[in-house]
Symmetry: C2
């Protein structure tokens, strides 16, 4: 998927919503638990209910690995289902991998070849040769952690480099610009840190940003849009729990649809204010 295709989808759907598919079996409605693969059935219902307002889906691998082979099968089925029925929607493997070159090649094979994911999230800690193997795939994306939405972000991400005066997350943005362009790289910037969005945009004005933390984690959409939006929107705002667990009973899919449409309505307003639709 190219940045232009992504922006066209955003304009068509009046939305920059990414739905996080973090199915927790403990919260899955009871009537699905007897299905052959309850996690996949849950995801399928969520996808059927939200695809008209979602421009991306983001399964987090942890929630699948917690269920072993059944979980991994559900992950593969979920990616396959999205790509079969809604090939225009971006699929982001939220895997936060990061390993040496020959190992990174294996992860790239897992997520870009065996599965047909468009993007994978990566930790930048190990540097360029842990990211480059993913950049060799045309029209696929590596999404590097920049400033994350959790409490521990301040432990290392804001450390200031004695030599350059840049903070670690700014070093990640600046150095990785030499590894690939805005058509291959995105960055994770937590919605809970809107002030940092400004700093990110100073170094990376053109990149798409994946923004988690709206909803359950407390981030606000208008703050994110004000500081982060660019001329191609440049934002994918993720919401997981507040959509997929809007209701945990029989009506979970209908409730997810409503929560997603509600968020899409707010996004439409932001896109209109910015003159992008």
């Amino acid at each position: 998927m190219t940045p232009t295709q992504l922006f066209e989808q955003i304009q068509r759907k009046h939305s920059f919503l990414c739905v996080g598919l973090d199915a927790d079996m403990a919260k899955t409605p009871e009537h699905l638990r007897s299905a052959a693969n309850p996690i996949f059935e849950f995801n399928r219902a969520i996808i059927d209910a939200t695809h008209h307002v979602a421009v991306a889906y983001k399964p987090n691998t942890a929630f699948y690995e917690a269920h072993g082979t059944l979980g991994w099968e559900a992950l593969e089925q979920t990616v396959g289902y999205i790509k079969q029925h809604h090939p225009e929607i971006m699929v982001i493997a939220d895997a936060k991998r990061g390993d040496i070159g020959n190992t990174a090649k294996m992860y790239a094979r897992a997520f870009f070849e065996r599965m047909d994911c468009d993007a994978i999230t990566l930790s930048p800690y190990m540097g360029h040769d842990s990211v480059e193997p993913y950049l060799e795939y045309p029209n696929r994306w590596a999404i590097l952690l920049g400033i994350t939405s959790n409490l521990g972000y301040a432990d290392f991400q804001t450390i200031e480099n004695k030599e350059t005066g840049l903070r670690l997350f700014e070093e990640v943005l600046q150095r990785s610009a030499q590894w690939g362009g805005a058509d291959r790289l995105m960055y994770v910037v937590g919605a809970t840190r809107p002030d940092y969005l400004k700093a990110v945009r100073r170094v990376a004005p053109n990149h798409f940003l994946l923004v988690p933390g709206v909803g359950a984690q407390g981030g606000r959409l208008d703050d994110v849009a004000r500081h982060g939006m660019n001329r191609q929107c440049g934002l994918l705002v993720n919401s997981s729990r507040s959509i997929i667990y809007a209701d945990t009973g029989r009506r979970f899919a209908e409730a997810a649809r409503c929560a997603a449409v509600e968020l899409q309505g707010q996004m439409q307003q932001q896109l209109q204010q910015a003159g992008l639709i």
Copy 2:
């Protein structure tokens, strides 16, 4: 597993060898390819051939995920096989995960509950709450990336903090000391960077270090022992490719045994010189 149990095993086997189980199907001997699960069959043969000199096994998840559900099944079977037949041997999931708290709990469940791994490797980029869920499991370990063995290590890991004068990897060592002790945390320090071992030992004299990079990546065992060994040995030196692919034909397991025994002999010498056996 406690540090004392690990050291006792090291003394008993005269070895601090960790064997990396990174089975690459393309390099798996032909006669195994018709097995129900060639990756597991390969691993089983390697384990049978090396368990008398290995104190730890380290499957890297990438090599399993590259084969989808079959790969994940092989990973679970491999961990189960080690724990059933050699419960004293440490199993390290080389997963390099790192995610927010509620997600980290899912990974901990995957590797410490569904599978019976003793340890998991983690990227420290996201800070304390991405590590703490793993530390709640008694006698299991979180192994944080410190200085890695790949070329890209210098992109971020050696950035010097303007405020403290410490380099990023030293910040990781120092801050994480507040999250857990030497009975719960280890650090990855690449054998290709022996000079950094000295710096690591200044901040973390008592921790066990997981040292990859001996063999195929060019690190030297005597350098590692000279700079990194402490009074409980404090080292797990990993070798993957130079053991498991010592021969890629029918005699692969016998060749792996010889390569492992050869390395164990060198380790015995280092342990003797240090007066630890």
